[in-house]
């Protein structure tokens, strides 16, 4: 085998290897998305927990509608779940029945939730963010 043939062979091996690397890399990217699902699910459960907590305040009438607005106006804290810290932020906004901002007191409030956690590899997983929070709307159903 001559030198030229050897170089061509080496090039062939290198090019073929890049196919493998590209394919495997794509697979790892997909794996990242799949394994992040666990964090998304957990984040949604945390949001559900706070929503249920607020529902309890409403049905027991332990807090007035306006107090829910002020108490949850801008809460940021952390919660340890399954040996991992989830950081959350909750904000409240008076809105119409469709969730559009009104800027003044109304019969509806939009609760915006944002949760994030830092994974083992130091990547951050966001469940809702500043521009696209997880939103829930509550209505003031009290008679007075």
């Amino acid at each position: 085998m001559g030198t030229g043939e050897l170089i061509i062979l080496l090039f062939a091996i290198i090019l073929f290897s890049t196919l493998f690397i590209t394919y495997y890399n794509g697979l790892i990217d997909q794996a990242d998305t799949v394994y992040n699902t666990n964090y998304y699910l957990q984040g949604m459960q945390i949001i559900e927990k706070f929503y249920q907590e607020i529902m309890v305040d409403i049905i027991t009438e332990s807090k007035e509608f306006s107090q829910i607005y002020s108490d949850y106006s801008n809460i940021s804290d952390s919660l340890s779940v399954a040996d991992k810290f989830y950081h959350y932020n909750i904000t409240t906004t008076y809105c119409d029945s469709l969730g559009n901002n009104l800027g003044s007191s109304s019969k509806f409030q939009r609760l915006d939730f944002r949760v994030y956690t830092v994974k083992g590899n130091q990547d951050t997983v966001f469940i809702g963010n500043q521009n696209n929070p997880i939103s829930k709307i509550i209505a003031n159903t009290s008679i007075n």
Binding site: M1, I13, F16, F20, Y23, Y24, L27, I28, Q30, A31, V34, Y35, T37, N38, L41, Q42, Q45, E48, K49, Q52, E53, M55, V56, I59, T60, V81, A82
Partner: protein, 188 residues
């Protein structure tokens, strides 16, 4: 002689390249299979959690007269209550329980009036349920004396499925989920 040596070298090098290619393909195949199983496991985890949380546990105390006992058993791996499930006309006794470990793992089951209605779903470890009163104080399990004080519970479970591992032949793909359920009927 030279020709024989060159042939041997070519065979060795060619063989190494083929082994590397097969090894790479094997790794890719294992990763892809585990990924597919993890997707299925995540789906199962999400579905089971959703049905348990929103379909079963949200019905705690539903249709039960105010002076009746709603929760009859509150252990770390068992929660039994009275409630009327969606589309049911009568109040039933519902039990969410993790039974004894088997070779497949810990079976999570849901019974309605002693009849199995959900499960078994296999958990890698025992189910952990923690109970809280209205002020958020954790009640030590099994809750007996203060069972009427339970207002919400935290469920911690980890589903699993056998995946493939090159070194140990098999490994456990896991999906751990923790959720809370406030028993709204107990507040009324």
């Amino acid at each position: 002689m030279t020709a024989i040596l060159e042939t041997i070298w070519a065979t060795v090098i060619g063989g190494m390249i083929i082994v590397s290619i097969l090894n790479g393909l094997f790794t890719i195949q294992i990763t892809a299979m585990n990924l597919e199983m993890q997707i299925t496991l995540n789906d199962i985890s999400e579905d089971v959690t959703s049905v348990l949380n929103n379909g079963i546990l949200s019905r705690v105390g539903s249709g039960v007269p105010p002076d009746s006992t709603i929760i009859s058993s509150a252990k770390i791996n068992e929660f039994e209550f009275k409630g009327k499930l969606t589309n049911d006309n009568t109040v039933s006794v519902i039990k969410v329980v993790q039974e004894d470990s088997t070779a497949n793992g810990y079976p999570l089951k849901v019974y309605k009036d002693n009849s199995l209605v959900m499960g078994p779903f296999w958990l890698v470890d025992s189910l952990t349920v923690q109970y809280y009163d209205k002020d958020g104080n954790e009640l030590s399990t099994p809750v007996t004396t203060y069972i009427d004080s339970i207002r919400y519970a935290k469920f911690d479970m980890e589903f699993f499925q056998k995946g493939i591992d090159r070194n140990n032949f098999e490994n456990n793909l896991r999906s751990r989920i923790v959720f809370w359920r406030y028993f709204l009927n107990t507040y009324l």
